[in-house]
């Protein structure tokens, strides 16, 4: 079963009396089991639209997405996904414990199993001492940790994370990287978008670069390490020219 299979994906935003905006254009890629893939692109490149498409939040204009060989939006497929949204906002009137309890119950968990799972996760993401504090009294980084915990709650086989380390301090970022590595060693696939190139470089097996809705590069990090001076320079050169510098060099 392929965790993510995207074929000729097109996503357009309709506008009244005007030409629709094409956010994603003929995008195709695949993510294999236990792979960590970084999804890069400048602001407005189409990363969040693609992720919304993967989660079934955004109707596809054309093309197809399959999650574990099931069509996107399928309830069974969603039971295997852990999702971290771009903005970590959770009900300001609930505590992290209650927030996770709500999401756990929606995932079909209950009773002691759920309580133990929540306690373990809050410990793992480092906010067990704030488990009973209202979300509105938590910092952005702490809310991001709540978000990571909710994404891991149902023991997903695939993690989809939009700007996963947003708001985290350096220690939090390192802990998150370790957490993702542990997830991968348990056979979990991780697909995430990020603007932090060093994070992508240290964590990913492969990167996908999207520019103006099109996939312009798909490289393994080990391949890049031998061929470019720094991944950051490579990325900046690519988004400025709109083409993969390594393809250009080969030509």
């Amino acid at each position: 079963m392929t965790p993510i299979l995207v074929e000729n994906l097109v996503i357009e935003y309709k506008r009244a009396f005007r030409k629709p905006i094409r956010a994603v254009n003929s995008l195709s890629f695949q993510v294999g089991k236990a792979e960590i893939v970084g999804f890069l692109g400048v602001n407005g490149a189409g990363k969040t639209s693609t992720i919304k498409g993967l989660m079934g939040f955004q109707p596809l204009t054309s093309g197809a997405i399959q999650i574990f060989d099931l069509p996107v939006g399928n309830v069974e497929a969603r039971s295997k996904i852990g999702f971290l949204p771009e903005t970590a906002t959770y009900s300001p009137y609930l505590t992290p414990f209650e927030t996770l309890r709500l999401y756990g119950q929606l995932n079909g968990l209950s009773g002691k199993t759920l309580r133990h799972r929540i306690e373990a996760l809050l410990e793992e993401v480092g906010i067990s001492d704030r488990a009973r504090t209202l979300n509105r009294q938590l910092s952005k980084g702490m809310l991001q940790r709540v978000g990571i915990a909710q994404a891991l709650l149902c023991e997903p086989r695939l993690l989809i994370m939009d700007e996963m380390s947003s708001g985290l301090d350096p220690v939090g970022r390192r802990d998150l990287r370790d957490l993702m590595q542990r997830q991968r060693s348990n056979g979990v696939t991780v697909f995430f978008s990020s603007h932090d190139i060093s994070e992508v470089e240290s964590l990913c097996d492969r990167i996908l670069v999207i520019h103006q809705g099109r996939l312009i590069a798909e490289r393994t990090v080990s391949e890049l390490r031998g061929r470019v001076r720094s991944v950051e320079d490579y990325f900046i050169a690519m988004v400025q020219s709109g083409v993969d510098p390594l393809c250009e060099a080969a030509a």
Binding site: S79, Q105, L106, G147
Partner: protein, 258 residues
């Protein structure tokens, strides 16, 4: 079905906690204090011969406050999730959009019914304190009002996925308080026959009738209880109407770009 019940229960528990912490119930308590203060004034000046008037004021206050609270509570259920983007982690769960809508409706309904029951219990206690009887029809009033709040919550939740929160609340307030007026307005032409009569009758059936669930006037004028068949028919109309409204909301919500 069991899974849907579990999902709804999760929404209701979280919704009630939010309501408590938002201090929505404080609003009910403030309104209650106002009612007590008003009643105290009646007590101060004496209530002899004013039984009908006091029943009218008490039941009108309960009706108005519970209607406004219901619209405010139901009107924010879905739009607030969308505005603060908490809808994404919800929709990432293995649940359908219909289950989200159903859960939100039940949360709004149960919260509103609780607020109504608090107000009604206080109103009843005040009337008892003044020695003003209400008769068994009061219990029919309680039952039908709860069905009415289910219906009103469903309408407000459904319309909230079509329009902005401010527009939705305005429209729902007009429909809730204006439903009695629509009925009277339509009845003006009730004598019409042929195509005009049929159209007007169709319009009468089509317009939302929140007023059907309000037996407040009958309680005020100490009517005898109404027939069980009528109560059951109205309850069925309310529950069917609630699901029709939810269906209207789902038509939009199932494909909505969020």
């Amino acid at each position: 079905m069991t899974r849907t019940m579990q999902i709804c229960k999760a929404f209701i528990v979280a919704g009630l906690l939010e309501t408590l912490r938002r201090k929505d119930l404080y609003v009910v308590l403030i309104l209650t204090v106002l009612m007590v203060a008003g009643a105290w004034m009646f007590g101060f000046f004496g209530v002899r011969g004013l039984e009908v008037f006091i029943r009218d004021v008490t039941l009108s206050a309960i009706g108005v406050f519970s209607t406004i609270l219901t619209i405010m509570i139901a009107g924010r259920q879905v739009p607030e999730e969308i505005a603060r983007k908490t809808i994404y982690p919800l929709m990432a769960r293995p649940i359908t959009r219909w289950q989200i809508l159903l859960g939100k409706w039940l949360t709004a309904s149960i919260t509103s019914i609780l607020c109504f029951l608090v107000l009604a219990a206080l109103g009843r206690a005040l009337l008892m304190a003044f020695g003003i009887p209400v008769g068994p029809i009061f219990y029919q009033y309680l039952l039908l009002k709860q069905v009415g709040l289910l219906w009103l919550s469903a309408m407000t939740v459904a319309l909230s996925v079509y329009m902005t929160p401010a527009a939705n609340i305005t429209i729902c307030l007009i429909l809730a308080f204006g439903s009695g007026i629509f009925t009277r307005f339509t009845l003006l032409w009730h004598g019409e026959t042929g195509a005009t009569g049929a159209s007007l009758n169709f319009l009468y059936g089509l317009l939302p009738h929140y007023d059907f669930f309000d037996l407040g006037a009958k309680v005020t004028y100490a009517w005898p209880p109404i027939g069980a068949v009528i109560v059951l028919s109205l309850a069925a109309y309310g529950i069917l109407g609630s699901f029709l409204w939810l269906g209207v909301g789902w038509l939009r919500f199932r494909k909505a770009v969020l």
